[in-house]
């Protein structure tokens, strides 16, 4: 059973400030969904390998620098002196 506190903790890890009513609702819904996922637990980890990308590192393109046209930051609402303002770190 997934508790409300677990959902609160997962919310914090995901940087989501959930309301009390969201915590109640998500706890019940997510418990039901994850219980459905439990059918995966019947699969043995022996035998075949899990799926993974078949792309080999050597197939990746060269790391070339391309100048980006336009200003990707022009839609920030919090600019000052050519910088983008964010929240304080401490």
């Amino acid at each position: 059973m997934i508790s409300k506190d677990e959902i609160r903790h997962l919310g914090w890890l995901s940087r989501l400030e959930l309301t009390e009513s969201e915590l109640d609702r998500y706890a019940a819904q997510i418990d039901e969904i994850v219980t459905y996922f439990d059918k995966l637990d019947t699969i043995s980890l022996n035998g075949s390998e899990p799926a993974r990308s078949i792309k080999k590192v050597s197939e990746l393109r060269n790391d070339k620098i391309h100048m980006f046209e336009g200003n990707p930051l022009k839609f920030s609402r919090n600019r000052k002196d050519g910088f983008v303002k964010g929240p304080r770190i401490v």
């Binding site: 989501l16 899990p50 799926a51 200003n71 919090n78 964010g86």
Partner: protein, 498 residues
Amino acid sequence: MPNHLYRLTADEVASGIKNGDFSAQEYISQILERIEKIDVKIKAFIAVDKQSAVEKARSIDKRIRDGDRTGRLSGVAVGIKDNICTKDLKTTCASKMLEGYIPPYDATVIKKLKESDAIIVGKLNLDEFAMGSTTEFSNYGPTRNPWNINYVAGGSSGGSAASVAALECAISLGSDTGGSVRCPASFCSVVGLKPTYGCVSRSGLISYSNSLEQIGSIGKTVCDVEMIMNTIAGTDENDSTTKATRPITTATTPNTASLDRMPKYSRHQKKRNIRVGLVKELIEGAEPAVSKCIYSAVDLFEGSDCKCEDTSMQSIQYALAAYYTIAMAEASSNLARYDNIRYGFDFSPEGYEWNTYFAKVRNNFGEEVKRRIIIGSYVLSAGYYGKYYLKAQKAREMIKQEITSLFEKYDVLIAPTMPILPFKFGEKIKDPLTMYQIDIDTVVANLAGVPAISVPVGFSDCLPVGMQIMANEMEEQTLFDVASTFERILDIRKSPEI
């Protein structure tokens, strides 16, 4: 000027404009009028780009008058799902978190459409960040089904399918992570393709689950979908997962750029003696009205050059759990980037400590997105990673192996696209697990990375039924051959009265 140009297929529009039967400006003005008249009811569009559409039409007409060559999609009105970046045209993902975002670049597929002289008429509604099966999770309100506006249009590319069905554009692009092109195509009675993973560049597609999603195409006919694929498929240096769509046979260094300019699929290339596997679990698992339509279509198809037999897929029992585990895990990682600093809604960070600010602004994601981020964090967290995520990847490999072995025996596999008929708004929105379960028929193709197409096969109680055809990796041509045969023998194409 001919009336009702908006009713034409992309193929008819491109040839009509090139042959001088009507001008691109005449056509596009009818399309824009149609959108203005109809979209208040359907709500397929988030934004309409009238000015650029009219300017582009004018330039195509001038080039035709001057005797210059124009592209494959000359003048064709295209709608774009609003999670694909369009330069200087807002791209919202139907989310408050992307409010005010205007991409400084075009997605690769958009560049290719523009080079082919398609006219982008606007951006189309979706479930927020493409998470949903009904378009009810859009921050802009739901798109309505053109066959009955009290019913859902399907999702997440609901706007893409509804706009084509309602004759607001000739063709559209959507994205398909677990059925998001095929589901609304089925619910709106249009053709929708999810290509092979790697067949179409994802550069500029705002990512939700990058190992599963592909940009797909929607049209009124199989031929139109084939035209889009001839335009957008191919390798792209900005997406390392793309693959060449034609086998390279020359001994010298292949020039993939020139290969990409060639038509890859042909409407005249008909494969004979098609071997068809009917996926028993999915057909029998659908509601009777749906399976009845599928069997009736297959009965007619059996008269043509093919052999149909029942087949079974054991690993399907794990498909839905594996799909949602992987998709949500990838979503929780992909959506970590949204912090409301570089773009987003008006909320000053002044005075906030960063963790508090991010948690506060990120709570403006919608209900379904937050649910998926939380579950994604859960299945990736210490103690649960082995139980869920690792086993989901294992299930994915089992599904890939089983489907590969089925394609040694069959050219195509047939199943319903959706196990149920379109339903009324609000019917499933409070019960997320039930909503997820309606994706059971479509997620297999995404997990295995194979192409799948949905074609209309009939109606039940005036609501559309779609049939799904899957083929092996890079076998889109086989899909087009089989789908166009169904289209021809069923001959049910019609448009809704709105």
